[in-house]
């Protein structure tokens, strides 16, 4: 079952790389003309085509592109001619850093709040929480971000509104620098994750075996820890992984707001410059992380499901 799922994930990845490749192929005219413009000299276009290997047939280019990717060679940026690997490398690690810190805060907070809201359903606490999540779900990321900037960086000057980080900074300085983007991401993701955790727990608590546990006279803690939790594990893990995937993608907008030197910022810049090789490379990286996390979610929930773990 797990192996089947992994194979499916790999297949998805291959198809997506193909789609990314084909997407560029379908461009009206070709990349060289699109970039150089209509007025470019035919010789310049020809030379450029050669550099992009556009003179070779499509399937050969696809496999050589894929082979290069596997070796970590992404080619050169069209905009400034620098190797894409250099551009992406540290930006990707910055993005991962931001996403990881946000996840480390968001996951435990969301799960604990979600469980509490489910256990004290319809209490004042639950209502407050669902009102708060309803609004954060409705707010665009940049709205949350600018409110935080207005409050914590303009009205009271505690955190920087531009999250510039570099390799010389200490961990503490880095965290101070990314505090606001991190808080933005956390707020947005916590809301989603909490809502889904709450729903998963409520669903489990309504099952007949929980009623049976109550009728056996077990105490509340035991019912929750021993009876509800092992069965809630699978759905909750799923919720977490899906939200992490969401977080990795949601990072794009937040990076732009805070001018954070991450992969998302690079992707957006390259799209507006139509720097297609960079778009391909960073898009593929985002897609891989996203698919990977979704895959992890499925595998973990298969493993943590008692019925699937102990087959007949």
């Amino acid at each position: 079952m797990v192996a089947k799922r992994l194979a499916l994930g790999l297949l998805t990845l291959i198809i997506i790389s193909l789609l990314i490749f084909l997407g560029v192929e379908l461009l009206p005219g070709d990349v060289a003309e699109a970039i150089l413009g209509q007025s470019a000299l035919p010789e310049t276009v020809a030379a450029f085509r050669k550099e992009l290997k556009l003179d070779l047939p499509a399937h050969i280019r696809y496999f050589s592109w894929l082979g290069d990717l596997a070796k970590g060679e992404f080619g050169n940026s069209l905009a400034n001619g620098r190797p894409i690997a250099d551009l992406i490398g540290w930006r990707f690690s910055n993005t991962l850093f931001l996403a990881t810190v946000a996840a480390l805060i968001a996951v435990p907070v969301a799960i604990i709040l979600g469980i509490l809201a489910a256990l004290y359903r319809n209490s004042l606490f639950d209502r407050l929480i669902s009102m708060a999540t309803l609004s954060t779900i409705s707010f665009p990321e940049f709205f949350v971000a600018y409110i935080l900037i207005a409050l914590l960086s303009v009205q009271i000057i505690i955190f920087p509104s531009i999250s510039n980080i570099n390799e010389q900074m200490s961990l503490f300085e880095k965290i101070h620098a990314i505090f606001l983007p991190c808080l933005t991401l956390t707020l947005v993701v916590v809301a989603h994750m909490m809502r889904q955790t709450r729903a998963a727990i409520i669903n489990i608590m309504a099952s007949p075996f929980i009623e049976m546990a109550r009728l056996k006279g077990l105490n509340r803690t035991r019912i929750i820890v021993l009876h509800a939790f092992p069965n809630a594990l699978s759905p909750v893990i799923n919720v977490v992984a899906i939200n992490l995937a969401y977080l990795v993608v949601g990072v794009v907008v937040v990076e732009v707001v805070f001018v954070y030197p991450g992969l998302g910022q690079l992707l957006v810049d390259s799209v507006s410059k139509r720097d297609i090789p960079v778009v391909q490379a960073s898009g593929l990286i985002f897609a891989t992380v996203y698919i990977g996390l979704n895959l992890l979610a499925d595998v973990l929930s298969i493993i943590s499901n008692p019925r699937l773990r102990n087959p007949k």
Binding site: P208, F209, M212, A213, R214, L215, G217, P230, N231
Partner: protein, 539 residues
């Protein structure tokens, strides 16, 4: 003997449409030590709610409004959660209808068995393990030493149900509440569970509340019976007295249910065959056969009952006949002509002549269509009737199924289960069919309602001369309505013939098992049967 449970003037409310509505109206209930009390009633009688309330428990959306629940001298109404916790599981235990849903899928059976005694501080795990194995053995579970170490989904339905009875026994409680513990089981499996329950309550001299809709089942177990209806007590009395000599009309109705019999016509030699199933084999996967070498005939204006337990392939046969599942081999011959095997290649006329009625009237009619459209669609589809003709015919069909004319404007949601089933019958009749396939049409209905439906179907057959293929697991229904009987087991026909012929011994071995497993109103039936079977085994 002293009272172990004494409930007085119990009122329970349920939350619906934003307000609390009383659903149990002041019930008094007493239970002596070692006594088995049967609570009987149709759906909506409040019997499960009362059963749970004896543990001072209510489901989500219900609450105990007033009354007194005294267990062994302790008042439970308004008592602390701590008191409830101490009593539940250890002194009053519960056995639910569905064991598959009530066992936690994450833990082994024996761990769930041991949980209550260990948590209530009665014994340690090792001791509980030993006791569990002992009880599994007494309940005749196969491989009692090992079965406890399986997970719930690894054990069959009947065994799981017995494992739940064992779990309820784990603390040797004073009372066990059995909530329809055999309703979801086949008759032959039901016997095993009934025998287990009877055995264990007698052996440990335990008091029990047994909740069921089936009077014959409760007759085997209960010392005393309470008949409930709409949250009120109808009648209460010693089991034998009440069965022999019921006072209230409702109890009499419940007792006389299943007495309807179609008159048999001895000199009937009509050989006009409408449907012939020839050498049919079918499979869903292409490998495992669900049906093998099926041959049967249905005569015009007659009823063939197809009997079998779950997994016998009887519903699959209906799918093959209707064309939903093309057979791997064999032919369906209808009105003398071979039918194309799959639905798509049959023409409208083929489809019209063969109609179907289903088990669940709730899902068999579209809740978003008015009755006018439900019955009217076949009329315009098959006969191209215009609005006016259609309207008249719908009203005619409503009359035939004994429904008021005004129902034409209603949605199914405004009708009761039995009325919805009548709508389904009307829809089938709208096509003027020669054959109607009835798939468990009475199983989801309360017994009194089911009886009325059977009578209606019989009357329609007499008037219209339509044939029925009646698929059912319920032998009482078979006895009531059939002309011929076909018994199926694991995809094969084990026996078939005229009703008289099948119902009078000697039977085929399986038919015998099936027939003898149907509970009878006689309170000694179970004891006699078990004694007989034991004797047969020791021979």
């Amino acid at each position: 003997m002293g009272k172990i449970l004494d409930i007085k003037n119990l009122k329970i409310e349920g939350y619906s449409n934003e307000k609390w509505v009383e659903i149990v109206h002041g019930i008094d209930l007493t239970l002596d030590k070692g006594e088995v009390l049967g609570l009987i009633g149709e759906s909506g009688a409040g019997k499960s709610t009362i059963g749970l309330a004896s543990m001072a428990y209510t489901r989500q959306g219900c609450r105990i409004a007033s009354g007194s629940i005294v267990f062994d001298g302790m008042e439970l109404f308004g008592a602390s959660k701590e008191t409830f916790r101490k009593i539940r599981g250890s002194r009053i235990a519960y056995v639910a209808q569905s064991a598959a849903a009530s066992f936690n899928p994450a833990h082994r059976l024996i761990k769930q068995y041991a949980e209550a005694p260990v948590q209530h501080g009665l014994m340690d795990f090792a001791e509980a393990e030993q006791k569990a194995i002992d009880i599994y053995r007494r309940l005749l579970l196969p491989d009692p030493e090992k079965i406890g170490y399986r997970y719930p989904h690894q054990v069959s339905g009947g065994q799981l149900q017995r494992a739940m009875v064992a779990m309820a026994m784990s603390c040797q409680p004073d009372i066990i509440v059995f909530d329809e513990p055999t309703t979801a089981l086949d008759v032959t499996t039901q016997i095993e569970v009934l025998a287990a329950i009877k055995h264990i309550t007698e052996q440990f001299d335990m008091a029990a509340i047994y909740i069921t809709h089936d009077l014959a089942v409760v007759a085997q177990l209960a010392d005393r019976i309470m008949v409930l209806r709409y949250g009120n007590l109808v009648e209460e009395g010693e089991a034998r007295t009440l069965l022999d000599n019921p006072k209230e009309a409702y109890t009499k109705d419940l007792l006389s249910v299943r007495t309807f019999r179609k008159p048999t016509d001895q000199n009937d030699h009509n050989q006009n065959i409408i449907l012939k199933v020839q050498d049919v084999s079918a499979s869903y996967t292409g490998k495992e056969m669900v049906l093998e070498d099926i041959n049967l005939k249905i005569r015009r204006g007659k009823t063939v009952a197809l009997v079998g337990e779950s997994g016998s392939g009887k519903s699959t046969l209906a799918r093959v006949i209707t064309g939903l599942l093309p057979p791997l081999q064999g032919q369906i011959i209808f009105e003398g002509k071979e039918l194309p095997p799959d639905l798509k290649s049959r023409n409208r006329e083929h489809l019209r002549q063969m109609q179907m009625i289903y088990q669940m009237p709730d899902t068999a009619v579209n809740p978003r269509q008015k009755i006018r459209k439900i019955i009217g669609r076949p009329l315009s589809f098959y006969f191209g009737m215009d609005r006016k003709k259609r309207e008249n015919r719908i009203i005619e069909l409503l009359e035939m199924t004994e429904l008021p004319e005004k129902y034409i404007e209603r949605y199914p949601g405004e009708l009761s289960g039995g009325e919805k089933q009548r709508i389904c019958i009307a829809r089938a009749l709208a096509a003027n069919p020669n054959l109607i396939i009835c798939d468990e049409v009475t199983s989801a209905l309360d017994q009194l309602v089911a009886e009325e439906i059977l009578k209606l179907l019989q009357r329609l057959q007499n008037e219209l001369g339509v044939s029925y293929l009646f698929i059912t697991h319920d032998l009482a229904t078979v006895k009531a309505i059939s002309d011929e009987i076909v018994v199926m087991l694991q995809g094969r026909i084990v026996e078939q013939g005229e009703k008289q012929e099948i119902l009078t011994p000697p039977h085929h071995e399986y038919t015998d098992l099936l027939l003898s497993s149907v509970p009878e109103m006689n309170p000694d039936w179970l004891d006699n049967l078990l004694a007989e079977r034991q004797a047969a085994q020791s021979l």
